[in-house]
Symmetry: C2
Subunit: 609 residues, 2 copies
């Protein structure tokens, strides 16, 4: 077996600088009060720190984390020993509290910078990166909706890494249908103090049990006795693994018991658990916010989590891309078509056009997904800190419509990318001695968790596109048209600008048609929602690629002295051309399918299979 | 963790009967002298036997085969203990010699029936099915090109399962480029007796070492000292693991030594080995056929092997399809769009249109791939046994052009299918407690081995389409046009017939354009060969679906008394509609791309990435 050709690959810093500072101009955030005293220097230092932690602690244990899966020994979950070092390093860095207010001990960073930092951990070792990610998400929820007392009790240990967190939504018999949750919450004593007894079973709880931290804080959805049926009767509770007294010390068990570990195809470093609440004794939960509002609260966290799924997919796709790129540059094999002399030395495989095609698909998937998740993260910052109320509202709208896309598209397109990385490596790509196959297994989960991609499609077409009389959709179209108009002035980019304008027009035609069908027959109108999501996502990515191409073209036009940047910018332009030629062109067939509302799947009957 | 919902799933017998007897009319083969005394009864008995072996021995050990990977213990390869039972069962059944002449102890079955039999083993447990498959392939090569003495010595123990076989082509530094093979063959004593000393290293040798059989017969490509460079200087050798005297008894080591096992993502039951020949002592090889003709011989086996790859992919895709179908029929979750009452019980998920979309994609992938590989297997029978010389020649031509498609398309489309199966199961699909994730890992290899799919594309466009002044391509078009004309008379199928005719016309336009480009600039003309293969494959599958739809429509038109067959035929018709609406429609964008010969990948430079 030849030795592995490259160390673990990560996000290209030149690309990151391009997106953050040349495309998105995130350094301008420092002008806002919340980010005063920050700026590119601070941002870069945070990114450098995350990269160093990723290189030192996360990347070296990625493979071991996969091989030595968590297991139950004497009733306790044993995780791969290196995992503790990754947790401790992140906790010490302050990144769990990256976006929290400074007066809570947070770094008060923009979401866009925090997101980049976490992405480096995910690119290096997603199985270890889950724990701080989930903890930050749970902490955000308590910060947003908890009482002062709850914040005081739970946030300090979570943000400093003494406690970790989870989100516990799914139940074995309900699956994706949260309306069918059956976990019960019964008031303890005087109901008004917000303490309940929790009973039920949750499945797929990532990080649901381990010994990395002194305690685990589960954020659990449950139904208070007498609550309405369906999604309107769900409440949110803080349910710790061990009880904690109001003054802080940790007490005995809260009867959250591990019923089993699930053995996944990938992402094995993160424990996936089946948990029983209150089966072996009383399990206390503390109501967060108002009763029956749990799903709305959880969805705030869920929206972040969905963008985080897209980011993790991007990170893994990016890692595979850079890994296979390095391989393609160094591995020699075969000769070009037309070369008849077998005495000539073999060429580096990057000289084969089909290898470049596979690398370009990966470049578009990884860099396009990075642009998308950064755009979304920046919209979160806009929504919270833009000086102008109109800008904040527009950001919120745009984020609503982009969230399902940011979850679904990177998870699918980067899986295709990782598959291409595997193909570039050939047999080596399929061998566990190389990194790619683990990325292929790890990333596949991203199409499933936090709402399957089909659920994202229903969310996009059935909810986001129609909400507020289509205001979110209109906000998206306004951005797309604006870019097409701006790029239309360029000789180089004129044809891409026209293609984006046409694609946007067809998207709007399709959207109007489907909204009309949904009005009379929701099931029929939503039947091909997955195809619709693909069509919208490709159009959004065309917008992001055209914006990148504009920046690259301007830089090239500015001319001399570019040095190695010239190759970088030419690569961006060529990737945009590839995207418009190989990817966006798939939209026509999908638009036709949606406009005729192809009934093949809708009318198929179960007994005909 | 809920229990697994279904046992291992296999090829649907009703579908198989439909394809074999209603579509392909393979029972007519019994009219030919080679298959006299055979007929549907014999064919069905063979299939039943294979299915019984698959159920009894192969399926139960699929998961164990994956978990307990082969390992080296005290220098010997230890395989999962159940593997021996699978080998012994197949050996006892005679299936290793399924297509061999009766006077060699073979069953003298048609390829199409043998292929169906093996497919059942592959659907149940591909890691175990490799060993008899590889052995049959190696035996076929010796039968076709060996001397009488070689046949007498090697075939009886191989066909009865005392010895197993491998094909040893690839070397670590050559990869897919067989022109760069460096394994040397030096004449021993008097060169004319065909005995050589073999020295070199081979990688990815499946079944390259194990203790299932008394001996392992490697068919090795090597270069005789002084041979021309490139592919024209490669010869084929029989290289046994242990020496065998002319009268049969097995002697000492032949110095084929295991340098290492490769650890694959899937397909783990089959040992994948790095082998050294002659490093630790003299290793003898016996020349097969003429010197320097090895690659031509090997390609005879390779063509069969490529169709076998497509068949294995079909088998795995089929298994995942039936597994997820059963799950979708029994798992209840959520309600249909428009249903506002959360008190209503959840519906079986097959009632969700997007689940049916994913099942239809799988049905098209699995059943379409089965139709394709059976068509190819029948063409092998036609080529060998058709009474008319013209028919034999046409079959050979058609098989040439279909082989790269039969390898590449099922391997890719069934991977998409298995991914959809995983998506139908949601989190359970990603859990190792269920069957689907193993199929996802196992089948991914099929896009890589026996020539990557990109190599199939180069073979199709660069060789098959142009050979004999386009005769093979013309043979394909004649079949497609014939079907379109036949179906065009039907009211129900008229639009599909027109779509096939249009697609065939565009394919021919694209082909002529690319052949023209290749004439002046081979590298440029072949740059998008992978897209070309997709376009041709989709057209071929449209042909196969239209043929199935015709049979189904006739059966439905014949009317009454169909019973449960009515649902089956309606399913075939609906799958054809889905295929034409969701899959074939992708061809337009690809045709445009190829007609403009999109240069994005071709012109991309390595340093721009």
């Amino acid at each position: 077996m030849p030795t592995r050709s490259t160390p673990s690959a990560s996000i290209d810093r030149r690309d990151l600088d391009f997106l953050l500072y040349e495309l998105l101009a995130v350094d301008a955030l420092a002008e806002r009060p919340r980010f005063a005293d920050q700026g590119r220097e601070v941002f870069d230092a945070v990114i450098d720190t995350a990269r160093a932690i990723a290189d030192e602690h996360f990347a070296p244990s990625r493979r071991r984390n996969d091989q030595e899966e968590p297991q139950v020994v004497d009733g306790r979950v044993q995780t791969q020993p290196d995992l503790q070092a990754t947790w401790d390093a992140v906790a010490a860095s302050g990144l769990i509290a990256a976006t929290q207010d400074a007066d809570r001990g947070g770094m008060q960073l923009p979401h866009v910078i925090a997101s980049v930092a976490i992405a480096h951990l995910e690119a290096a070792n997603v199985g270890s990166a889950s724990y701080p990610m989930l903890t930050a998400g749970a902490a955000n929820l308590i910060a947003a909706f908890g009482t002062d007392a709850q914040r005081a009790l739970w946030l300090p240990p979570m943000l400093t890494g003494r406690f970790s967190g989870t989100m516990a939504l799914t139940e074995p018999d309900a699956g994706s249908s949260l309306a069918d949750l059956r976990t019960r919450a019964t008031p303890v004593g005087d109901a008004n103090d917000g303490t309940f007894r929790i009973e039920g079973t949750k499945i797929w709880i990532s990080g649901g049990d381990h010994e990395l931290t002194e305690n685990i804080v589960h954020l659990v959805l449950a139904r208070i006795a007498g609550a309405p049926e369906g999604t309107k009767g769900i409440s949110l509770f803080i349910v710790p693994k061990k009880l904690v007294s109001p003054d802080g010390p940790i007490g005995g068990t809260n009867h959250v018991t591990l019923a089993g570990l699930i053995h996944k195809m990938g992402w094995r470093g993160t424990t996936s658990t089946l948990l029983n609440f209150g089966e072996q004794g009383p399990c206390l939960g503390y109501l967060v916010g108002a009763p029956h509002q749990g799903l709305a609260y959880m969805f705030q966290m869920m929206n972040d989590a969905r963008i985080a799924v897209g980011r993790a997919a991007m990170a893994m796709g990016y890692s595979a891309y850079r890994y296979s790129l390095e391989y393609a540059r160094t591995r020699r094999q075969g000769r070009l078509p037309g070369e008849k002399d077998p005495g000539k030395p073999p060429v580096p495989i990057i000289e084969h056009a089909d290898v470049r095609r596979m690398l370009l698909q990966q470049k578009c998937a990884a860099e396009g997904s990075l642009a998308l998740v950064l755009e979304c993260a920046l919209l979160m910052d806009e929504e919270e800190t833009a000086p102008d109320a109109g800008a904040r509202a527009r950001a919120k709208l745009l984020l609503e419509v982009l969230t399902p896309i940011a979850k679904a598209w990177p998870s699918a397109t980067c899986q295709e990318g990782i598959s291409n990385a595997m193909q570039v490596l050939g047999g080596y790509g399929y061998a566990r001695e190389y990194d790619v196959e683990q990325l292929y297994r790890d990333n596949r989960l991203n199409q499933i968790h936090e709402g399957t991609n089909a659920i994202q499609a229903l969310d996009l077409l059935g909810r986001k596109v129609t909400q507020q009389q289509g205001a979110a959709y209109a906000a998206l179209v306004a951005r797309l048209d604006g870019t097409a108009a701006e790029a239309g002035a360029s000789d180089v980019l004129g044809s891409m600008a026209r293609a984006l304008r046409v694609a946007t027009g067809r998207m709007t035609e399709v959207t109007a048609h489907l909204v009309g069908v949904m009005r009379s027959d929701p099931a029929r109108g939503l039947a091909n929602a997955s195809v619709y999501l693909d069509l919208v996502a490709r159009t959004v990515l065309a917008w992001l690629w055209l914006r990148q191409a504009m920046v690259a073209e301007r830089a090239l036009a500015a001319g001399a002295g570019l040095g190695s940047d010239e190759a970088f910018y030419r690569g961006k332009l060529q990737a945009a051309r590839f995207y418009f030629g190989f990817e966006l062109t798939k939209n026509d067939a999908d638009a036709d399918l949606l406009l005729r509302n192809d009934p093949s799947a809708f009318e198929m009957r179960g007994e005909w299979f």
